[in-house]
Amino acid sequence: MTNPITARFDLDYGSFRLNVDLHLPGTGITVLFGPSGSGKTTLLRCIAGLQKAQQGLLAINGEVWQDSERGLFIPTHKRALGYVFQEANLFPHLTVKGNLQFGLKRIGNSRNHDLAHILALLGIEHLLDRTPDRLSGGERQRIAIARALALNPKILLMDEPLASLDFKRKQEILPFLNDLHQELNIPVIYVTHSQQEVAQLADHLVIMEAGKVLATGPLSETLSRLDTPLAQDREASTVWQAKIIGHDDQFHLTNMGFDGGIISLPTLVGKVGMPLRLQIHARDVSITLQAPTATSILNVLPASVTGIVDDDSGQTVVGLRVGGQPLLAHITQKSARLLNLQIGMSVYVQIKGTSILN
């Protein structure tokens, strides 16, 4: 069972139509990405049963929640899911504790042994007796996440949980989401229009537009597909999974190993063997035909060209592969002509900068 989640929906509003047929992995974070109006929230609401698609087939790890051909539709309150809304949506008449216990009481398990762990993970133990009106936006959202997780759901659905928060509050929650990532063994479906959240959280990426799926697949593969608007964007990037393999004390560098070579970064705090996510922006990647002998750029790696697309503003998006890892480069169309880039060519990429995402 490589694709334990099947989500097929056809929902027609006249002016808008959601029409998707998705197979998603049963673990990790799947991000639904797209501009507003692309249908990503509608898709999430269909998975939750908050909206009912006329035609639909939904199965989560073997449990069928909707099958319109058999006339089957399990109502939301009978689905073992956790849902985090864009606004935390806590019950204003209950304390934090009351909010956390609301669902627990209904699954007949008012003492969840994991609850203490979840509270600690989200750093909200000290807020239990407060009412929601006396919490910050970030605190409210953390409690909403805890409230959803407390039920030991089979799937966690998150609808732009950071969108209503300012930058500071986002930074307050992202580390918690990253930790959840390591701890949870249930699938998470996460809706966002932020590329930063995609790079930071996604394992699997679904790009949506106008109610349809443009691309779906593992994060690095999907980010580097040239046929999506994401690859053309000024902020386009690829994300590599890498591991610390050693520290170079003399030059204050950390060496990271990835599927395709070694890359050096300014010293990081971390033990050898620690896994990290590296984000490489396409604008920070340049291409040479020969291995440069004199360059200030530290990370020069052999690569092969896998795709070339010109946009209409003088930019060329080049798809590359470094060992097993896909990579995107944004170069000018003039450079692309001068280098006479062709698919299949062996080149060298110079990586000017990378950022660490966790």
Partner: protein
């Protein structure tokens, strides 16, 4: 001071108002919930019908109730068939009339409260395993508490203060349909101003106290709130 006939009217008024308010809450809650949530084309008509007693002269309402409930009216025929007799000039008739007359004062604050709650808490409850009835009792009712309080208090106070409908449907029968407002009328007709003062003054103080409690504890404008 109050004589025993006055005290009997006070007790009867209290009984009518309590029973009517209970019935109005029982009928008004599902009606207000439906009005707050439906997209049906009947919604406008229902809203207008519920609000009618606010603008109609009580005599008009009383007259039609008399016709409907009387021995030749459609409802009167049914109650006669069922062996209940006819309702006009009886205590149950008075309660029925009061319910019709005061129901907008219960339904409108409830409807406004339900509308203000919105979809979000209901969806949150559904994702936390609460079924529709569970959600209504444990999320909607607590959140709509100000609406329930306003509706109950205004419904009760308005029933206490009714006169025209009572006179038309209930008449003026001691211990059965003679309520405070009718008794005041009787006193004034008989030029018993001192007795009228005791009851009228008492009603004035009662109404003022009720409204004062509403405005100070709920911190909203109940009448403006329900007319919007």
């Amino acid at each position: 001071m109050l004589n025993s006939a006055d005290i009997a009217t006070l007790w009867l008024t209290f009984k009518v108002a309590s029973i009517s308010t209970t019935i109005m809450l029982l009928l008004g809650t599902p009606l207000a919930w439906w009005l707050a949530r439906t997209a049906s084309r009947w919604k406008g008509i229902c809203n207008a019908v519920v609000a009618l007693p606010l603008v109609l002269p009580p005599t008009v309402l009383g007259f039609y109730l008399l016709v409907l409930l009387g021995p030749h009216g459609p409802i009167g025929k049914i109650t006669t068939e069922l062996g209940l007799g006819t309702l006009p000039f009886t205590f149950p008739g008075l309660v029925v009339a009061s319910v019709f007359y005061s129901i907008p004062f219960v339904v409108q604050p409830l409807q406004a409260s339900f509308t203000a709650i919105g979809e979000q808490p209901l969806e949150a409850a559904a994702t936390l395993r609460a079924g529709p009835l569970d959600t209504f009792l444990n999320v909607v009712v607590p959140l709509a508490k100000p609406g329930f309080m306003t509706g109950a208090i205004l419904g009760f106070a308005h029933t206490v203060g009714e006169f025209g409908v009572v006179l038309m449907v209930g008449g003026n029968i001691p211990d059965r349909t003679r309520v405070v407002s009718v008794q005041i009328y009787n006193h004034v007709e008989a030029l018993e101003y001192a007795e009228a003062h005791w009851l009228a003054g008492g009603l004035l103080v009662f109404s003022f106290t009720v409204l004062l409690i509403l405005y100070t504890t709920l911190k909203t404008h109940p009448v403006a709130h329900q007319l919007k």
